[in-house]
Symmetry: C2
Subunit: 217 residues, 2 copies
């Protein structure tokens, strides 16, 4: 059962985008908003440049994410594909299997978590959690602009640390490829069959429990 709620004006349906048929056949058990339904992580990206206003709106979405003590522990380093001198080092932080397809993305982002607090001892227990939220916000903004995001844990953290002089106060947590979704045919063959929304998710009863207090005797 269940399809996404109606949102007829979403830019993801704009004719300005390319005419590749969107495969949005998540096996929804219950309806969700279209921006959530449409999100998935492609490998095929079109070699199409991103514009500055898109970049700014992506980070603006991250900027307004909630965070524990409003610590805003997210930090980003990015490069655009059209600036190839800057893009290449970032690309080379990825594991080789990811480089094969990420090289066509319009943008690569390295997402860092600030692990401490300003003027306060100790580790921010929610740094990764808040960064994950901010990156989902960024991804939602991307979807609303007809873009797709593929988040990756598969990169060389140490290489990233060295390249960008990242000290121990920050953890390199994820890299994100952002761009216009392309065509499966452009991918190396081993990736083609993967080029659709992942359907394998736990059912709600596997990860959600309603607490029902037993009556006391």
């Amino acid at each position: 059962m269940g399809r996404s709620l109606s949102l007829a004006d979403a830019p993801i349906f704009s004719k300005d985008n390319y005419n590749y048929k969107m495969n949005t056949s998540k096996q929804l058990e219950y309806p969700v908003h279209e921006l959530i339904d449409q999100r998935w992580s492609p490998r095929a990206f079109q070699p199409r440049e991103l514009e500055t206003h898109q970049v700014r709106s992506l980070f603006e979405a991250a900027r307004w994410a909630p965070s524990s003590y409003n610590a805003q522990p997210w930090r980003y380093i990015y490069a655009l594909n059209q600036s190839s001198d800057a893009f290449k080092p970032l690309l080379e932080c990825l594991f080789p299997a990811n480089q094969l397809w990420a090289k066509h993305a319009g943008m690569l982002i390295l997402a860092l978590a600030k692990m401490g607090f300003d003027g306060k001892e100790g580790i921010n227990r929610h740094a990764y959690y808040d960064l994950g939220a901010a990156n989902y916000a960024l991804t939602t903004q991307a979807t609303s602009m007809g873009l797709h995001v593929h988040q990756m844990g598969g990169f060389d953290q140490q290489k990233a640390r060295e390249l960008f002089n990242i000290n121990e106060d920050f953890d390199p947590v994820a890299m994100l490829a952002v761009g216009y979704k392309g065509y499966p045919e452009q991918l190396p063959e081993k990736f083609r069959a993967l080029e659709q929304p992942k359907k394998d998710r736990m059912r709600q009863e596997e990860f959600v429990t309603r607490f029902m207090q037993q009556p006391q005797d």
Copy 2:
């Protein structure tokens, strides 16, 4: 500069919701989608029941979040306010200052991270990160249905562990209050002035760096 992109049909503007004027005056530097602009964490909730279909759509949004190795490390335990025998123990896991206002929320959720992998040694480095993403997805779904979410780190983890028999494989990471936004006047006085979207965020130049490779000699 910058206001949210248009999304005239969003249910957040539905007349079915109450007529409290939405204060959405984030100081946006760049436009973001309305579902991102509208999100904030109120303390005032109306004592209004949530319906089953809302609960299911909230968790469905979390269900489709991306995760490292598709491990889906999110777990949820929840209670509805209308089931007061179940709601009260969950409420009492919160720090007292949070209980003061969260007692009116329609729903309380305890969000857990599964810290290991199935059939594989080691800790899932992205468990908190992925849970943060799933909870932002849940929150976005809430916004699209005219609901608000207030996420909290301020709760007694040990008490939650005992109450729900949570073993060391799982970390209690956050609690979420979900419901229909209420009126500042209903809050204890010390909370009233806080009852608006937080405006204090870093500017983009403080957390975003564009990598510009220096030409080699």
